[in-house]
């Protein structure tokens, strides 16, 4: 055994490296994953804090209280939801067994009174009260939208196109968060998934509402497309077996892009899709944040999906161009598409929270509107805006018209086959904004199995606009 010291030194160095690695790993976990781990659902430590701090209340934009704490009794705290089922999904629940969802989860820190993050030094004594939140919601609009959906399943999203503030976010079927524990088993087993927030997580084929994006794609890529005359024979054939038809086989004849849009011609848009190709459609869809994570405040939006069409046949591309096939969109995505058009092509970040303030009224945090991205040019936006106005004035969206207000929109009748071997009514979509000049509200309405877009969804949209702009 020669040179023992050298050997031992080598062994020591190896062990030193191991120890250093272990220390670095500890530091890495602490610094980079620390907050996420501490906020995890399995962390029971925070529950004592949550229960011992008088949880902050949540208000709508006009300071109507939506949910408040019932007080701390026996080391436990329950919340009272003033509006019951209406705001269940967007506000979320806070339960020590079932966890947190919605705004209760995303603003958990503030509602618990932690101002400086999870590990900041908090003075022990003024932490017994949480901070309050003023949302951007308009409870009157929210209630109206909830009632308008009636017994149907679906969602309504309404936002301010210029600021991104969410005015209403409704999902049906809903549940009463005041009875969460009592109803939990029933809710879990319900095949209609009442706990799902359809507005941000429901995935539907957008149907003809997607033609907004196809139009933008055409405007951006094909020169002079506005003046092109199409021959709509009611049917677009790809080969002997497959073809695309207009609704009810309607033949629109020789028309330009505007009429195709107004009357929702599948033939014209199908052929446009084939002409543009899957790649260009994909590019435009992604400019509207399909396949992308949409940043938002106070809500988490699932990614909408535009399929990879590389190597697909014409039939599939045409289907995608009219919003069928494998495209899936959340209602809020379509609302954002509409709001981008309303806002001269700029998509604003959807925000749910206006201010965070303490019990003395002092504002701790104030949210400022933020741009997500420019989805299209102002020129193209204006053109599509005009088309959308005409849809309501003389096209498939007449049911949405409100006297005295220039409503703009696009209908969608989305075929879907979720249950095989059963004929299902298509989903009824209506997306749009109002008024034409200086839009104040952009929205998306979907009524599951509701039939024609110009029917139930358009009707709901009309009533919503009346509620918001006329009262």
């Amino acid at each position: 055994m020669e040179d023992i010291s050298k050997n031992i030194k080598k062994v020591m160095i190896i062990f030193l490296v191991c120890f250093v690695c272990l220390i670095s790993y500890n530091i890495y976990i602490f610094v980079f994953r620390g907050e996420k781990i501490a906020l995890s659902v399995y962390n029971n430590r925070l529950w004592t804090d949550r229960k011992q701090v008088l949880r902050g209340s949540i208000f709508d934009r006009n300071m109507n209280v939506l949910v408040k704490s019932k007080g701390i009794k026996n080391k436990d705290q329950q919340l009272e939801y003033m509006e019951g089922k209406t705001c269940a999904h967007v506000l979320g629940y806070m339960d020590s067994i079932y966890g947190l969802t919605g705004l209760q989860k995303l603003y958990d820190k503030e509602l618990m009174g932690k101002r400086k993050g999870l590990f900041g030094f908090e003075k022990k004594y003024n932490n017994r009260v949480g901070l309050n939140i003023q949302t951007t919601l308009d409870i009157k609009l929210q209630n109206k939208a909830f009632n308008l959906l009636g017994n149907n399943k679906g969602a309504v999203v309404a936002l301010n196109p210029k600021t991104g503030e969410i005015l209403a976010l409704v999902s049906k079927p809903s549940y009463n968060p005041n009875n969460l524990r009592k109803d939990w088993d029933k809710l879990r087993k319900d095949k209609n998934f009442p706990l799902l927030n359809r507005a941000v997580s429901g995935m539907y084929a957008p149907g003809s509402t997607f033609k907004i994006i196809t139009t933008v794609c055409a405007l951006e890529n094909i020169k002079g497309i506005q003046n092109k005359v199409f021959d709509d024979t009611g049917k677009l054939a790809f080969n002997n077996k497959e073809s695309l038809k207009n609704y009810n086989g309607e033949v629109l004849g020789k028309i330009k892009l505007k009429d195709a849009f107004i009357h929702s011609s599948n033939v014209v848009f199908g052929s446009l899709g084939v002409e543009l190709g899957g790649k260009k459609l994909d590019e435009t869809a992604e400019k509207f944040y399909f396949n992308k994570y949409i940043p938002a405040d106070g809500i988490i939006i699932d990614n909408s999906r535009f399929p990879e069409l590389q190597g697909s046949n014409d039939g599939d591309i045409a289907q995608s161009a009219i919003g069928q096939g494998k495209i899936l969109a959340t209602p809020i995505e379509m609302a954002l598409v509409s709001s981008s058009i309303a806002n001269d092509g700029v998509m604003m970040k959807p925000i749910l929270v206006r201010t965070v303030f303490d019990n003395n009224g002092k504002i701790i945090k104030s949210m400022i509107p933020e741009r997500v991205d420019r989805a299209t040019t102002p020129q193209n936006a204006v053109i599509v805006k005009r088309y959308m106005r005409d849809v309501v004035k003389e096209g498939t969206g007449k049911a949405a018209n409100v006297k005295g207000i220039e409503v703009c929109g696009k209908t969608g009748t989305a075929e879907h086959d979720d249950i095989p071997n059963i004929d299902e009514s298509p989903h009824s979509w209506f997306v749009g904004f109002a008024p034409y000049n200086n839009p104040k509200i952009a929205f998306a309405v979907i009524v599951e199995d509701g039939g024609l877009g110009g029917g139930k969804a358009a009707y709901i949209a009309r009533e919503l606009i009346k509620e918001y702009l006329l009262k």
Binding site: V11, Y42, R45
Partner: protein
């Protein structure tokens, strides 16, 4: 002579630490908990007692081994007291016993290197101890290696590690020298014919027997589902082999064999697969088998930099917290800074132990020192790694800190031997 001043300072700080920790614990409730204070004073007395004996009668030896191990013990007992007072008191008793063993070894053992004669005794003891768990063991917490005698339960494989190291030290000490002939290896006669036929290098011969013994031990460990001990045994053997032979390629061979063994056991045993599955993504199994790691991670992170304060955190939410996961409780209440400090302390202890190996004069002592140091260091690395999710979780204890009579006794036994070696050396 500055050394003496540094020693003094370290000792003073240790006393200070002990007193402050126990004082902190005592004021956690609304009234001052006197038993905590008494426990603190008892610890200080034991530390002083051992230190004085070592200092006065055996001043040549290493003085810091006792200091570092005491500090780790203090942190452990304080946290245990906070978790379960009864266990803390029991742990203090074991600590006293451990210290006593430490001192007895240092006093009684006069010529360590004479112990290399009992190679076959160690061999038999090792095999017996390792096998005990497989055939008579009870399964506790996923590992079948506990033996119960009356009210006491202990892990024979822990004692087996000690004898294994002694055996390896005596088997490997003559590697590369001409002294092979003195030790009659039963394999010599059997293999001589074959080895001569294939003209295998002399030195391999001496490695075959230890290699087989180690593999048998590993086999028993895997059968007992004690994968942590298997890993530790591997680390000890590889290190001792390297020190003995200076040939890195033997270590590589070891690693390759171990890798092959692990893959085989992964395919053969479902409990190995489960451990790896949980390690890769504990959050997926957070309600079932992954809950231990998940709660541990949450605890470690919840303490923040400076900890939640003794008695103010919620370490009882961590499963198995008094033994395997005590590190998580320490991080939660003392803070991650102290968690890192504990890792550094283990390294410092390891350093002092290896230093004794450097100064040892004969190979047997040297290998013993290396073996015991590696045993303690790798145990600390493996369990802290497991608790934080860096390596798959295994059921071994954090030496000196976790609650565990057998663990403490064995660790102090090893420390005693190394202390003796440090004394005999230059």
């Amino acid at each position: 002579m500055n050394d003496i001043k540094d020693e003094r300072k370290l000792l003073v700080f240790t006393y200070l630490l002990c007193i402050m920790c126990f004082f902190n614990i005592s004021i956690v409730g609304n009234i001052i908990d006197r038993s905590a204070l008494i426990l603190g004073i008892v610890m200080c007395v034991i530390i002083s007692y051992s230190y004085i004996i070592i200092k006065r009668f055996f001043p040549d030896g290493d003085k810091y081994i006792l200091v570092f191990s005491s500090i780790l013990n203090i942190i452990g007992i304080v946290e245990l007291y906070r978790l379960n007072q009864l266990l803390a008191i029991k742990q203090t008793l074991w600590y006293t016993l451990g210290n006593a063993i430490f001192i007895i070894i240092v006093i009684v053992v006069s010529d360590l290197k004479a112990f290399n004669r009992y190679k076959y005794l160690y061999l038999i003891l090792t095999i017996v101890l390792m096998a005990l768990g497989t055939f008579w063991g009870k399964e506790i917490g996923g590992a079948k290696n506990w033996i119960r005698i009356g009210a006491l339960s202990f892990q024979p494989s822990e004692f087996g590690k000690i004898t294994l190291i002694a055996y390896l030290a005596s088997a490997l000490e003559d590697y590369g020298t001409q002294k092979q002939s003195r030790k009659f290896s039963i394999f010599d006669s059997v293999f001589d014919k074959y080895l001569k036929k294939y003209d295998i290098h002399e030195s391999y011969k001496s490695l075959i027997e230890p290699a087989l013994v180690v593999m048998v031990c590993l086999g028993f460990m895997v059968l007992q589902k004690d994968l942590g001990s298997a890993l530790i045994i591997f680390a000890i053997s590889a290190t001792m082999l390297y020190i003995a032979t200076s040939k890195f390629k033997y270590v590589i061979t070891c690693i390759i064999l171990f890798a092959i063994g692990s893959v085989i056991s992964y395919c053969m045993f479902s409990h190995v697969r489960i451990r790896i599955k949980i390690w890769l993504d504990p959050w997926k199994y957070a309600y079932s088998q992954g809950s231990q790691i998940v709660q541990s991670l949450i605890a470690i992170v919840s303490g923040g930099l400076f900890g939640s304060g003794l008695g103010l955190g919620k370490p009882w939410l961590i499963p198995v917290v008094t033994t395997d996961f005590i590190y998580a409780a320490i991080c939660e209440e003392f803070g991650i800074l102290v968690g890192i400090a504990v890792i550094i302390l283990y390294f410092l202890l390891f350093y002092r132990l290896m230093r004794a190996a450097v100064s040892a004069k004969d190979n047997f002592s040297r290998l013993l020192a290396v073996g015991y140091s590696t045993m303690i260091a790798s145990q600390a690395l493996v369990i802290i790694g497991g608790v934080t999710g860096a390596v798959p979780l295994t059921g071994i204890t954090l030496p000196l800190v976790s609650y565990g009579g057998s663990s403490l006794v064995i660790t102090y036994f090893s420390l005693g031997i190394v202390q003796k070696i440090s004394e005999e050396g230059i």
